[in-house]
Structures are given as C-alpha cells and as structure tokens.
C-alpha cells in the first residue's frame, strides 16, 4: 500500500550535480528542499578509500559506480523502421548511481560554451544564409544568451575550483589561453594543471601549424583550494584515477565533496537516499504537478510525496522517461514533426588517433582526468564553413588521462592480439605512446529522438526509454573533416608510427565507450510549440515543474556539457527562491 507523506516545498528528483547546486541556492535562503536519490552514499565506501579505490577492474571495467543495467537500461534502433533491442550491458555512456550522480565519476572537464552557442540558429543564418541549415537539422535558439549566463558560469567555476588559463578576459585576448573562448570577467579559480609530455609535444606541433593550443579547464584541483562556501579541495596528485572513480584525495570538484556535506548541515535540506522515483503526479486540467511517487529500494515501500514545486534533475534519459511516462507535454512524432518531448536527442561525434614515439617517455600514468592540451580552431563554428557541406566541428586535444593498463595500453596497428609479439608491443609502447582525440558536436536530426519502448520493461515494470539514433550525414561529414585535421597534427608531431585516424561513422555502437554527454529530449526555448521548457526551465504544460540538466540542451557542441548545465542549475535555484514565494510563469 502506498503511503502518503507530508507535503514539502521543493522536491528534486535525482541527487546529482544539478540538484546539489539548486539546493545550495534554495537552502541558503531557508527554502525547504527534499532531494530524492535512487542510490546510496559513496564517500565512505571502498570506492573512495585507498587501496581499493585504485582498482581498474572493479570501478572501471565492471562499472562499479554506474547505473545497474539490470534495473534500468535503454533500447536502441538506428532507424525508426527497425525493431529496437535492449542494451543488456551498455558501454557507450555511463549514467551514475548514488549521491553525486555521474558527476562523481566524471573527469572534470568544464567549459563555457562559445558565445554564439545559445543562439546558434540565428548565428548560422546570419553568417551563411537562410538555407545554411538543412531542413532535417532542427537547430533552434535556446532562448537565453551567454551574457545572461556568465555570472552563473563564474560562480560555478569558483565553487568547483576550476583550474585553467583564461584566453579572453572581457574581450581582451590572453596568450596561452583559448582565443575562441567566450569572454570571461577574470582568471580561472586556479592556475592550470601541469602539462604532460604528450601535451608539450602536441603544443609544439599545433603552434607550428598556426593553431592556438591551451590547457583544458578542469575540476581537478591544481592546488589546495577553499571555495566561496568554505568547502575545500585537496591538491591533485595526478594518480590517473578520475573518470569512473571517486577521488580519494578530494581533489576533484564533485557534488559529494563540495555540495552535499555542506547541504546536510543546513536545516531546510533533506537528502533521502535509496528513493527511486517512479512517477510525477500530474494534474493535466490544472496544468500543474502535485508531487512524485517513489519506491524505497531497500524496503520496497512505495510513497507519495506531495510538493509545491518539483524539479526534474535526473540524467538526460530519466528526465525524458518521466515526462513521457506521465504524459507531461506532447511526445515528439518524427512522422509529422509535431510534439516536443524526446525531440533533438543528441550525442557527441568523437574520434581518435594513436601516436607511437620510441624516443619520448609519455608515462601515461602521470595524469589526471583533465591533463590535456587542446585546440579550438576547428570546434563548432570557430572556422569558416563556407563551401563545406556540414555544420559544427570538434575540439582536438592531446588528453593523457590515465595509464590504467587494462584499457589504456596503446598498440600499433597490425600488432597481433596475443602471444609474444603482443607482449613485446605492449612492453615497447606502453610508456611511449599517446593519443589525440576529437570531441565533436552533434546536431539534432529529425530522425534522432527518444520515446518509450513498447516491449521492454525495467525492474519496476516501467517501460524502458527507446533511443532512435544513428550518425547522420552532417555528423559523419563533420567527423571526416575534423578527424583529418587531427591527423595532420599527428603527422606533424614526428611520431614513429601514427595509427589509423578513423572518423566516426554509422552505425552507432553501444559496445564502445564514446562519451556520457547525451543531451536533449526536454529542450528549452522561447516557443512552447517547439520546446518542452521555457528559457527559465519551467515546463510549458506544468507551471510548478522545472527540468534541468543536459536534457534541456537544444543541440550538443564539441564541449562537455557540465559548464552550461551547472550554470543553468545555479540560475534555476535562484529563480526558485523567488518562485516559491510568488508562483507564476517566469519571464
């Protein structure tokens, strides 16, 4: 029997990064907040302590910190004519589980997207004409500007102690930083990380080719750091166990270090763990939500939790699932182009190349999740697309993130897969190889979308989210172009061997990790007919429901999504302080 609980002011679904940031804003003003998180605590577990933290097999290969696919997975078809199959063990992207969510096991890459990204449609039409955007590429403006978001970027970077090198301070270019970056008001919170050998060699080659290398901005703490809330980060020790791991040195900016311990001290905050949300109660006639239903996964008891305001702050896929399942907003229909929920589902179009240099000691284990030198010269619309038959681009970087030996051994092409020759190649090249990679944009396509699978169910008997996704023409052409630019740099670096630089091509493969940056489906915008939430992240069809996270992104750029989604969460928290006092449609 479902139990009804006393009403709360703000109930947030999902205890990850955005929930922590929103709660910070709300509880600083004494607003009552309840966060529902399906998983448990990591801070005192084997995943957060030595020596067990440094276990590649347990946390990385076996996905010890990742969503359990037996509880909830997704189905995939490449085209809507195909039958979808459930992904029984996903490698392509890795949602988190537990307090802090996916932001616990992230690498820490923190970007402000280019100034033109929130107005990308207008930007492309202005620059290349009204026919520049193909009709099946459903780019649209986000309804916000970078200028509006800048103060929240600034706050997030201070809260998370971002290490980086400013390249554009109030429009003035700074040597050594990213000349393409959106204008900042000042330096990063901390100086950049120490550059790796791979980074030095990449920098020399990129400069030789006339490009503009700079260090990746990251939430790996280059020094000891105290943030504006008095929360502390240790100095990064370059152990190479960031992505897919919990930092035992508390040197990675994560919600479980910088947000939740502080929030727990605040009287108006409650975090309820092991609370898996099953649905949002929607009053369709009243165009409002009344609360959420969840199951305590430790006892099996179901609860109804009434709320004045509900914030949907789960991973992209769950944000979509709950709206689709509870019929909040009109589902997208690719046949007619009508409807919005599930629309503009995007991923990221990545590729890589390996370099082998017998006279260079790369020592891949001397690394953090963010030791990378980058160039932005071929990212997004930082270069002229006139005469090119695609839009978008990618970040090219020499990222040396780990020397973990199961996955981070690079072998020259043609190496046998086992035997003495395989061992010899492993021994010869492990410390003498590096990689370059492209993190490429992914623009929406009318045929890439999310809906509910008609066949497959999760552990609670609810439908799985179905992905209809593949690499479409625009992304394949973009990847071919930027991957060639990456290969040119690789060839300039004087390597003994350069591996194949294969651009990303259809079909999308769930068996290979690419990135966890999946976006869209609950997109934001100024027009209720073409967006799910308003520029203030307020649901058009339920005034007291707000949606936050990468699911509101209209498209995906060649950057990690964390910067913008964190900035939006901080702004939403501020908006909600106001909203709970005077509920209304926020302008």
């Amino acid at each position: 029997m479902i139990k009804k609980l006393p009403k709360r002011t703000v109930v947030i679904i999902g205890g990850g990064l955005t929930a922590g940031l929103i709660s910070r804003q709300l509880t600083s003003q004494g607003v009552d907040v309840l966060v529902l998180e399906r998983g448990g605590e990591h801070a005192e577990g084997a995943e957060a302590k030595l020596p067990t933290q440094r276990d590649e097999l347990r946390w990385d290969t076996r996905q010890g910190l990742v969503q359990r696919w037996n509880v909830q997975t997704y189905t995939l078809r490449h085209n809507r004519q195909d039958a979808a199959a459930p992904i029984r063990w996903m490698e392509a992207f890795l949602p988190g589980d537990g307090v802090g969510g996916a932001a616990n096991h992230w690498n820490g890459h923190t970007w402000r997207w280019s100034e033109y990204e929130p107005t990308l449609r207008t930007h492309y039409v202005d620059r290349y004409g009204k026919n520049a955007i193909p009709s099946n590429v459903t780019l649209q403006d986000w309804g916000i500007t970078y200028r509006e978001m800048e103060p929240y970027h600034e706050l997030f970077e201070k809260l998370f102690g971002i290490s980086g090198q400013a390249g554009n301070v109030n429009g003035k270019k700074h040597a050594g930083g990213n000349p393409f970056e959106a204008p900042r008001r000042g330096d990063y919170a901390q100086k950049p990380l120490i550059t790796t050998q791979a980074g030095l060699q990449f920098t020399a080659a990129a400069q030789k080719l006339g490009y503009h290398p700079f260090p990746m901005p990251v939430a790996n703490s280059s020094g000891t750091y105290t943030n504006p809330d008095g929360q502390k980060l240790g100095q990064c020790q370059y152990c190479g166990h960031c992505e897919r791991f919990i930092c035992e040195a508390q040197a990675k900016g994560t919600p479980d270090v910088l947000l939740y311990p502080m929030l727990r001290q605040r009287k108006s905050f409650e975090l309820r763990q092991h609370a898996h949300v099953l649905g949002i109660d929607y009053d369709r006639a009243g165009k409002r939500v009344t609360g959420v239903r969840y199951i305590d996964v430790q006892s099996g008891q179901e609860y109804e939790q009434p709320a004045d305001v509900v914030v949907l702050a789960a991973f992209t896929m769950t944000n979509n699932k709950l709206l689709l399942q509870d019929g909040i907003g009109q589902p997208y229909d690719p046949a007619t182009g009508l409807g919005v929920v599930g629309k503009n589902f995007c991923y990221q179009t990545n590729s890589a190349v390996n370099l082998f240099m017998k006279n260079s000691w790369m020592n891949p284990f001397l690394a953090t999740g963010g030791t990378a030198m980058c160039i932005d010269d071929f990212n997004n619309d930082n270069f002229d697309h006139t005469g090119l038959d695609f839009l978008g681009g990618g970040l090219i970087s020499a990222g040396m993130f780990s020397g973990r030996p199961i996955k981070s051994r690079r072998l020259p092409p043609g190496t046998p897969r086992w035997g003495t020759a395989w061992k010899q190649a492993s021994a010869d090249w492990y410390a003498h190889s590096m990689g370059l990679s492209v993190q490429g944009s992914c623009y929406p396509n009318t045929e890439n979308f999310l809906d509910l699978d008609p066949v497959y169910k999760d552990a609670y008997g609810q439908p799985l989210v179905r992905m209809t996704f593949d690499w479409r023409a625009n992304e394949e052409k973009m990847s071919a172009f930027v991957t060639r630019k990456m290969e040119d740099i690789a060839r300039t670096m004087g390597a003994d061997i350069v591996g194949p630089a294969a651009p990303r091509k259809s079909p999308f493969d769930t068996r290979v990790y690419q990135t966890t940056h999946i976006t869209g489906g609950t997109i934001m915008g100024a027009d209720p007919h073409s967006s799910v939430v308003s520029p203030r992240l307020q649901h058009w069809d339920a005034q007291n429901l707000f949606v936050v996270g990468a699911s509101v992104f209209v498209h995906n750029a060649g950057y990690n999504p964390t910067g913008p989604l964190a900035a939006m969460a901080l702004r939403l928290g501020e908006d909600l302080v106001d909203y709970v006092q005077r509920p209304r449609e926020l302008a």
Partner: protein, 252 residues
C-alpha cells in the same frame, strides 16, 4: 589427486596447475626486454626481485570450471601467453584462475546485466542478445569450440599442438569457425578475449597478473600515486617506480 599427474590426456593441464602456480618462480626483470622496461630493469634493484615475493596470495583450485573447461582455458591462456622473455606461461601467471573466479562470481552470474526477454537476434552494435549469463555462455562456447575442433581436427582444443591451437584461436576470432548452436566469434571476441586481457592487467588481487608480472612488463607503477612532483621531475624521462609496481595486495 597427485597420483594422476602422469596422465597425459586432456586433463593434464588442470592437474598441473596446482603444482605450477604453487611452484612459480617470478621472472627476473633482467629477462624482460622491450624499450619500456629495458632501460629501467638494468640495475641492482633487479636482483632483489628474483626471490619469490612474500605475501603474494596464490590461488589454487577452480571454483566453477568443469574438467573440460579447465583444460580448454589452460590451453588457451598458455597459447595466448606463452612462457617467453616477458612472462611465465598463462597458467603460471594466474590467467586461468582469474577467468575461473570471474565466471564463478558476479560477472559470470550476470550481475548488472539486463536479462529480461523477449530475446530477438539483433545487430552486433546492440551487444549480445542471448538469454545466458556470461558463465552459461562461457560453458556453451567451450562445448561448441571443442565440438568444432573435433570435427575439423579430430581432437579437442586442449589436445592441439600450440601452433595448431594458436591457428584455431585466430580462426575463432575471425569468425571462421562456425557452429550451428552458437556464434563463436562474439563468444571469443566479446567474452573470452576481454577476460584474457583483464587477467593479464588487473590488480593481482583477482588471481591473474601473478606477482604483477604484466605491470612490470609494461612499466605501470600501480598504486598509490602521489605524482605532483613526478609530473615535472619525470616528464619525458623514465619513471623509476615503474620497475617496482605496487598492488592492492601490497597494501592489504
């Protein structure tokens, strides 16, 4: 059990394992060549490593393999990891024990794997679509591989000469061995090969990578790692810690 060690039939590897793993003498780093380690291995530290390490647990006895499965896996890991200048043979490196323990444990039992039907064939990019746990898939695959081996070569896999066994594994990986009941290429490429790599390079805690022999081979220093100063001092230079890696076992 020891009376049977003279048996030269298909089971011989299984019985030898116990002796071999117990009696393993770690490889002296002088024997290792390769640019990654050669520069580091020269020097006095190498001699000290020639003694059997104290406190390294030796796992013996299989938790889930049948005799046929043990024979198959032992032959497989010895072909894929022959004794050479880099490492002892695969069995002596603990690779068979690792695979057995993984299949007996959470991985083998399908922990975290979505196991609801219906079960329909699909494209490879969606991953395996079989109503089998990895342990069941393993068993079915060994049976199918041996069945095909017997049909084609008149022997079970463990009875093949090493060169023939190597060729058979290559054929498996390239999809050239067909079986009516089970598709063997994904069995080898998506189950067995990853287990082999993991057996070599995981922390020795799990029974493979005995005495960190693969970490020493490539020069991975293991844990813990406080590298802030190393980032500058050993940037572009050989890292001394690579010659003496530390595992979870060393700190337990």
């Amino acid at each position: 059990m020891s009376q049977n060690t003279s048996d030269t039939g298909p089971r011989r590897h299984f019985l030898r394992t116990v002796m071999a793993v117990v009696g393993t003498v770690p490889l002296a780093p002088q024997q290792l060549a390769g640019a990654g380690i050669a520069a580091l291995a020269a020097g006095s530290a190498a001699a000290a490593d020639a003694q059997p390490p104290a406190g390294v647990p030796v796992l013996v006895g299989y938790a889930c393999f049948s005799a046929d499965e043990a024979a198959f896996v032992e032959s497989m890991v010895n072909v894929m990891c022959p004794a050479d200048q880099y490492t002892p043979n695969g069995v002596d490196c603990g690779l068979a024990i690792f695979i057995d323990r993984q299949l007996a444990g959470a991985l083998g039992q399908g922990a975290g794997r979505y196991m609801s039907g219906p079960w329909e064939p699909s494209k490879p990019q969606m991953g395996l679509q079989l109503p089998l746990t990895p342990a069941q898939f393993f068993s079915a695959g060994v049976a199918a591989a041996n069945r095909q081996c017997r049909t084609q070569l008149g022997k079970t896999f463990d009875q093949l000469a090493p060169a023939d066994a190597d060729a058979f594994l290559k054929d498996l990986s390239h999809g050239k061995v067909k079986d009516d009941e089970l598709t063997l290429a994904p069995w080898f490429n998506e189950l067995m090969y990853p287990l082999f790599e993991q057996a070599c390079f995981s922390d020795p805690l799990y029974g493979g990578n005995y005495d960190k022999v693969f970490w020493k081979m490539v020069g991975y220093p293991g844990l813990p790692a406080t590298h802030t100063l190393d980032m500058v001092n050993f940037r572009g230079k050989p890292y001394p810690g690579a010659r003496d890696p530390k595992s979870i076992v060393d700190f337990s």
